[in-house]
């Protein structure tokens, strides 16, 4: 509301309605200090000129530095909207109002002066930075890209097309190589109309680009910019950039390069300070006899321990709560049914026969190739016990296959069900229809390519999300569609069931991820904050957090309980397409179109490793069952295995690192790489470790 008032004031001033403006100002008592700086209005003689600079509060820049752009030869009205009063990434925002003038006022780019002089300003800054000391140069060079983009967008917005073009031509080559994709998109934006409707660009304009600069470098920059007469750049810096200052040594180019790359700069220090419960939930205890299979069904949770020689209790033996684990009832989770307990028993048995992997003992890889997939394979999932594979295709079908010799059976029709003997012991077998058993079941229902699939942990349900904007729940007992969850009105790129079932997350083109429960037709939580599409969504093993990777090249970790973003990880140079949590819940591995796998420590919010080796987008990442090996599959037709134990040992995660971002990534990708396995021109779409640590991979054969 404050902002609308200010905007109206500006509008009145612009229309030369001085008296009304005075009256409104008096009534609203706006000559206050709330604007956090001196709002100096120069009632100058030249009509229509008013230079107002408002220093947004809460920024790192010291005190109000009112920079009045001296009128001089400038006749344009510079309209500034009072910057962000909200400390955070939403800078002012675009107020969607009916009056086009007010919104135009609010979102108008500050015409900081003569458009033809922009090139001068930029090259002046460039010269200064290049002449500065080596240690500061790397940090100050971070300024180039955001300044370049904002100045270009200003020119375009104020319709100086030819100046914009020449500005672009002259300086786009200077930018870092990893911004080239963005610049290509930018070069096609030449008119103001192009900017409308491009949500990513609008978000970029209204949010502040975050730069982390050491105090020394910042002082240097500030001194220089304030000395100059035309400190337009200073205005732009204040308005569009958020400079997060840290005390310490300036970072080297290498360190900076590792962390930058996202559409909104880096992450602010406060963004990664919240406490994250990354521990695992305790498994409920119940007894499992190792030998006697018949007595499985009789064991119940909480029964007093039988006197058996070999006893294996599922769950942690210690009564102490892991300090890093969330309380059991932090979020409501479905109770454990009998069938779930049986599943767990099976899991334990298989786990006992699990192969321990390591650098000496690599897993065998079994590759499932989808031949003749002219339907365009777009998504694959495998059940946890590796009994079924589902493929989502571009022709909007979902196909389920049985991997084991046991065929897929659906429940009998109602007429047949009334005929069976309901009292017999094997009633669960009898309700299944033998006549229509088959290896493959095709599910029809979507009206667009299916981009994500996910089995429920109890193997009763299947989720699929598609370009038609819906997420569909299918029953794997009747092989029919049960529910269509409509919420995203735009393509949904990924979906996943929670590890305990009942909840699922979906992320799509509308830049949000939504948390749903199977019995609510509307989402329970909406995670908004990304600047571009959400391309990948994963649950943390304890089901309390959700990681989303996005096309704005950041990964965000969200808390399910209250929807807050608790971590922001920047560093990738391309849209993120795969995420994997380590089984112990402490680490996150991410893969993107830049071919690098980055490893993150969730507790500290730091990047701890970088695995180089792939040459194309990484679409599949999976940790082995005990977390010793990380497998990555990519479009370059290879599966690579990395030593996860070694990658995560000896982490230097002290306060200095978190505060300053001085990460020192060891160049040990080659050491960590345990093996590269080529496929015959089959990009790898999915990876899955069976319960015995056999690696399954899936992809569609492409003949080129």
């Amino acid at each position: 509301d404050r902002q609308t008032l200010v905007a109206v004031l500006q509008f009145l001033r612009r229309s030369n309605l001085r008296e009304s403006e005075e009256i409104l100002r008096r009534e609203a008592r706006l000559l206050g200090d709330d604007l956090g700086g001196s709002v100096a209005t120069v009632a100058s003689s030249s009509p229509g000129v008013a230079a107002v600079a408002a220093v947004p509060p809460g920024k790192g820049s010291p005190g109000g530095a009112p920079s009045l752009s001296s009128p001089g030869s400038r006749d344009q009205v510079s309209v500034v909207f009072a910057g962000s009063t909200v400390k955070g990434r939403v800078g002012g925002g675009v107020v969607v109002e009916d009056q086009p003038d007010v919104s135009a006022v609010l979102s108008a780019y500050n015409q900081q002066g003569d458009p033809t002089l922009y090139e001068e300003y930029y090259s002046g800054l460039k010269h200064f930075i290049e002449c500065s000391l080596d240690c500061h140069r790397a940090e100050l060079s971070q300024l180039f890209y955001p300044l370049f983009v904002h100045m270009y967008l200003e020119l375009v917005y104020n319709q100086h097309e030819s100046e914009a073009k020449s500005f672009f031509e002259r300086f786009h080559g200077d930018q870092e190589c990893y911004y080239q994709d963005d610049l290509r998109v930018l070069s096609s934006l030449t008119k103001k109309e192009h900017m409308k409707g491009n949500e990513t660009m609008l978000d970029f304009r209204t949010s502040k680009f975050v730069l982390r600069i050491s105090r020394d470098s910042y002082q240097l920059l500030k001194r220089h910019l304030q000395e100059k007469q035309n400190n337009q750049i200073w205005n732009i810096v204040q308005e569009h950039l958020y400079i997060d200052i840290f005390d310490g040594m300036p970072r080297s180019k290498q360190q900076i390069d590792a962390m930058v790359g996202s559409l909104a700069g880096e992450a602010k220090r406060e963004a990664n300070k919240a406490k994250v419960f990354f521990g695992l939930l305790k498994e409920p205890e119940f007894d499992v006899p190792l030998d006697d299979e018949d007595e499985e069904g009789e064991n119940e949770e909480g029964k007093p321990k039988k006197k058996k020689p070999k006893k294996d209790s599922v769950g942690s033996k210690s009564k102490k709560q892991d300090p890093n684990a969330p309380p059991q009832n932090r979020i409501p989770l479905p109770e454990l049914k009998d069938s779930d307990k049986l599943d767990k028993v099976m899991n334990m048995k298989e786990a006992a026969r699990r192969v321990r992997l390591g650098p000496e003992c690599l897993p065998s890889i079994c590759f499932y190739t989808f031949l003749n997939a002219y339907q365009g394979l777009t998504a694959v999932d495998i059940t946890d016990d590796s009994s079924m594979i589902v493929g989502g295709f571009a022709d909007s079908t979902v196909r389920v296959w049985s991997v084991t010799p046991k065929k897929l059976r659906s429940v009998k029709t109602a007429a047949d069900l009334s005929l069976i003997d309901k009292e017999s012991d094997d009633v669960l077998e009898r309700i299944m229809d033998e006549k229509t058993a088959s290896e493959l079941k095709i599910l029809y229902g979507h009206s667009g390519p299916v981009y994500g699939t996910s089995f429920s942990p109890d193997r009763n349900y299947l989720l699929s999300c598609s370009e038609d904007g819906t997420v569909r729940l299918w029953s794997l007992q009747t092989f029919t569609c049960l529910v269509g969850y409509k919420g995203h009105n735009y393509p949904v790129w990924d979906t996943q069931f929670s590890p305990y079932g009942y909840y699922f997350v979906s992320g799509g083109h509308d830049r949000v991820a939504r948390l749903w429960a199977t019995d609510h037709y509307q989402p329970l939580r909406i995670f908004a904050g990304h600047l571009a599409d959400v391309t990948c969504t994963r649950f943390h093993p304890n089901s309390n957090y959700i990681a989303t990777g996005s096309a704005d090249r950041t990964i965000r970790l969200w808390d399910v309980l209250n929807g807050n973003c608790v971590r922001i990880f920047t560093g990738h140079k391309g849209p993120i397409h795969s995420l994997a949590f380590s089984p112990n819940g402490r680490f996150l591995a991410t893969g993107a179109t830049d071919g690098r796998v980055l490893l993150w420590d969730i507790g500290h919010g730091l990047m701890v490793g970088e695995l180089k080796g792939h040459t194309d987008t990484i679409y599949a990442l999976r940790f082995s069952r005990d977390g010793e090996i990380l497998a990555s599959g990519s479009m370059d037709n290879t599966v690579r295995l990395w030593d996860a134990v070694k990658a995560f040992e000896d982490l230097e995660t002290d306060d200095f690192t978190t505060a300053t971002g001085h990460i020192n990534l060891p160049e040990n990708s080659q050491d960590l790489l345990l093996g590269t396995y080529m496929t015959k021109s089959t990009p790898v779409v999915h990876l899955h470790f069976t319960r015995r640590n056999l690696l399954l991979a899936a992809g569609a054969y492409s003949s080129q």
Binding site: V90, G93, E199, P332, L473, L482, V483, A517, D519, Y521
Partner: protein, 210 residues
């Protein structure tokens, strides 16, 4: 594309009572069309706003032992989306009376039990729903309201609502599939034609008894 735009522009200009199509009309026509065909996702502040709203409500508790957890039936795709037409022949009613099998299944708590015409037979269940009278059905099925306008009786029904509106407000009935039954005008003249109509509708509604 161009002809569509120009046609739209013509409509707008005639609405504004202009003599010829203006550039503004064309601009408006283009804008309206693009708003229909090309939508972009909502802006960020809007998303943040609704996210804040949604995220304030606590996560709902999960009822234990509740079988397959699905949304209420009207949001599911589990209901049959077809009707079976049975092959029952028309029962020729004596004296033009319509014998209507009792079609309501399930507990129907209250019905206005006034017969519309003075001669309800044992077989005829005539429950008329006057327009606007809510029929509260607690059962999951619905009742078929057959206006018992009879061919023979021509005079006795001054107050028989002319529109035996059998439109049962779906919102009153439970989540199951609702069939909107006949909306028949009980004009006596047309009762004969109404007969086969009614029959058909009854047949259509029969499937729900299965």
């Amino acid at each position: 594309y161009v002809t569509t735009i120009l046609e739209d522009a013509k409509i707008y200009s005639s609405h504004a009572k202009k003599s010829s199509v203006d550039a503004d009309d064309v601009r408006l026509a283009i804008q309206c069309r693009t708003d229909q065909s090309f939508t972009s996702p909502p802006p960020r502040d809007f998303l943040l706003d609704i996210a804040r709203q949604k995220n304030q409500t606590p996560l709902p508790l999960i009822k234990p032992y509740s079988g397959p957890r699905l949304p209420p039936d009207r949001y599911c795709l589990t209901a049959p989306n077809y009707r079976l037409k049975s092959l029952q022949k028309k029962v020729s009613s004596s004296a033009g009376r319509i014998t209507v099998p009792r079609l309501s299944v399930g507990a129907v708590s209250s019905r206005p039990s006034t017969p519309t015409l003075g001669t309800p037979s044992a077989q005829t269940v005539s429950v008329s729903t006057k327009v606007g009278t809510p029929v509260s059905l607690t059962g999951q099925r619905f009742t078929v309201q057959i206006p018992s306008s009879q061919a023979a009786v021509k005079s006795a029904t001054p107050t028989t609502p002319t529109v035996q509106n059998v439109l049962i407000n779906p919102s009153l009935i439970g989540p199951k599939n609702i069939l909107i039954t006949t909306n028949m005008v009980s004009s006596q003249n047309t009762s004969n034609e109404a007969n086969p109509l009614k029959r058909k509708h009854e047949d259509d509604d029969d499937y729900d008894n299965l």
